[in-house]
Chain length 492, copies 2
Amino acid sequence: MAKLTTRAEDYSKWYNELVVKANLAENSGVRGCMVIKPYGYAIWEKLQAELDKRFKETGHQNAYFPLFVPKSLFEAEEKNAEGFAKECAVVTHYRLKNDPNNPGKLMVDPEAKLEEELIVRPTSEAIIWSTYKNWIQSYRDLPILINQWANVVRWEMRTRLFLRTAEFLWQEGHTAHATRIEAEEEAVKMQEVYRDVVENFMAIPVVKGYKTPSERFAGADETYTIEALMQDGKALQAGTSHFLGQNFAKAFDVKFTTNEGKQEYVWATSWGVSTRLMGALIMTHSDDLGLVLPPKLAPIQVAIVPIYKTAEQLEEIRSVVDKIQDGLKAKGISVKFDDDDKSKPGWKFAEYELKGVPVRMAIGPKDLEKGHVEVARRDTLEKQFIVLDEVVDKTEALLEDIQNNLYQKAFDYRTEHTTEVKTFEEFKEVLENKGGFISALWDGTEETEEAVKDATKATIRCIPQAFEIPTEGIDMFSGKPAKFRVLYAKAY
Amino acid sequence: MAKLTTRAEDYSKWYNELVVKANLAENSGVRGCMVIKPYGYAIWEKLQAELDKRFKETGHQNAYFPLFVPKSLFEAEEKNAEGFAKECAVVTHYRLKNDPNNPGKLMVDPEAKLEEELIVRPTSEAIIWSTYKNWIQSYRDLPILINQWANVVRWEMRTRLFLRTAEFLWQEGHTAHATRIEAEEEAVKMQEVYRDVVENFMAIPVVKGYKTPSERFAGADETYTIEALMQDGKALQAGTSHFLGQNFAKAFDVKFTTNEGKQEYVWATSWGVSTRLMGALIMTHSDDLGLVLPPKLAPIQVAIVPIYKTAEQLEEIRSVVDKIQDGLKAKGISVKFDDDDKSKPGWKFAEYELKGVPVRMAIGPKDLEKGHVEVARRDTLEKQFIVLDEVVDKTEALLEDIQNNLYQKAFDYRTEHTTEVKTFEEFKEVLENKGGFISALWDGTEETEEAVKDATKATIRCIPQAFEIPTEGIDMFSGKPAKFRVLYAKAY
């Protein structure tokens, strides 16, 4: 197996190679669209299941809305969702026919032109709010707390597996409320659900914050975000939750009768995370040998490799491994005994390293004699021998330790790569030589934000909710009085 | 709440009303596309989970392939998949722009025309087989056992909620094998998985059979089907599993090196069920009061309605109900205590009947005095009083009984509506007056099949696997020697 490009050599190339070699995903024959391979999809499914559980625990239900958005609905929404909404896949016809001039070829049937073009959804606010209009008459119909798991399409010119693809998978929550405060609380609640899952399940530390007006979703009054930091010092927006005010209710004329009999516009939120999180997962934990997976997300948590020469040896090993497997499975740990005789143990070790399996065991005749198993952890690559009686309990503890260690390591990296600066000179120096989050004071103007971005490519990732608004200080760039402490970074 | 049209009045209207009133789905503003509402989606999710479990138990993994199929891939496949493939949504452009002549309006940007049109997948054989080509070199790469959960689009002119929609949700399995026999076994295995889930989970009896050549999927050498019978005497194809031979491997040039070093085309299957099953579910069990759900699929299995006048009474009831709820939940039974004070008990009863909740309990002060609960089953509408100590265990047994009863009732209906005929006169008479499956001898020719269809609209649903090939007899229509005993029916 050819080795991966190292991160130090070329981080971007390392990422691309890793995604393909670890069998997570690959580019398809369709421009900008990826194939998510079984191993990658298995990780996505575990993440989906965890998110879905939390959505349901917080009172949400799943539903499904159409893939297509008629152009006229887009026009109604356009004020809210300029920008990305225009780069999209447009369905104009509904039939192919045999090409009379090219036998064996197909052509679009010009007689099957749609009266109104259909857009493949880039997001579903338009189609969902035009539906909610019929569902909402009175305050009794509120709140509506719905989530959808779906594919969406945005016509991206430069794509990268998981991080930016024309088609991607995501969930989008769309809620409707009777009061402003309830909608605001919902938006913040879902940001917290995202933080919880990304930190405690994916082992990725994030900063909770809100976006500056220029970085907000176009139809939002406030965009809450969780921002992660990758190993190359670039930030990645891991999830957003939007307080939409009454913008969509006004665009689609969705009013309700209040308890007091008045007519009011409905308040709204939307929130989403996507297969982009797979990119964050890979870039946060993995190393030059391959993927490193937090145990809670790993499709295979423990791989057991037998080392043998004869069929008798294999059978002896198997009888011991059977007990270990039973013990692990009883604890809900997923385990694979790899007795495939087409590959050698060394090849298997490398394969499980590449695939990020958290714990790998090896067991041969000598181990049986000594009554122990060799246990290797993927995160630190440390090995130890564990006596057979203790292997199940210690493996359970080890998986927990790996989960915590991965989080702590990423947390420490972020701490080391979060730098407070006072001047723009310092800012540039840190950005150039160290990367990471840069904490600085901002005067609150779009002019400054734009100027810093133009000069350095760094953007304001968020105004962290944890930061107090400072009572004094000046913007590092403009020198004007500061309004907020913000985190800048270059970002994916 | 306005009553439903009855089945006897207008079966089709009853169905349409029921789907909407029970909050399962509704038509959207997008032609032919439906909105699957939370209650309908919750049922679909339970069905999905059950199918997914069985797919994994039989060795399959999930993956995800692109939504779009380039036109040229369609051309390669066209021999295999004529027919439906041409009525499809065609993406021709990738951008909208502001219409200079109509302020506030959008138009397709003529400069953003795709070089090659993209088809929204009507099914994924083409995109998947063009991918498998890169995955398969040697017999070691086989078998590939993949399933995909996805949305697909077929441009249907006449649509009906769940039964026939332009966009629908489904799963599609696509497997690749080294040998013909392995692929054939796979196709038959998945037909059995479908039968198992549809009969034992959805409580819908089905006939296993295979399709006549004219009713096969265009790219298949054999199409295995499960056929259900609806309450109006029409059949519904509930799932199909195709043995594709080497047709797709040849269309996409997918060869592998055998163990002996020879180059051979790969053998294939595909198999799918869709949201159409929701239509089968509704039409098999429901009645004039609304939906009837088999307990295994019901999102709410037990609804408990308190009957009270004072807050004290409600609290007394609640303390008793808490224990019942705990007991039911401990058994994995989903239960809803409906203490919403905005609606009256009578309204709630009707609502739970409409929604098909299998068991409804009512409990008031008099019941507390007597130490019992009123328990009503949805399928037979029978009521009984159960003493509090026994209510948990008896409810569990009752749910099982309802599940079995629904299956048995549908099975009995089907038995009564399966008629063996010898002559075409009999055939027409049964079709006209009784409907259902009609068992008859067939000479095996497409001419006869077509002639019967043209004369009566009945089609050969399948050649049941359970029927022996008769050694003698004549075709009921042509009078020629018969080859098969088949089941005819009018069908959805």
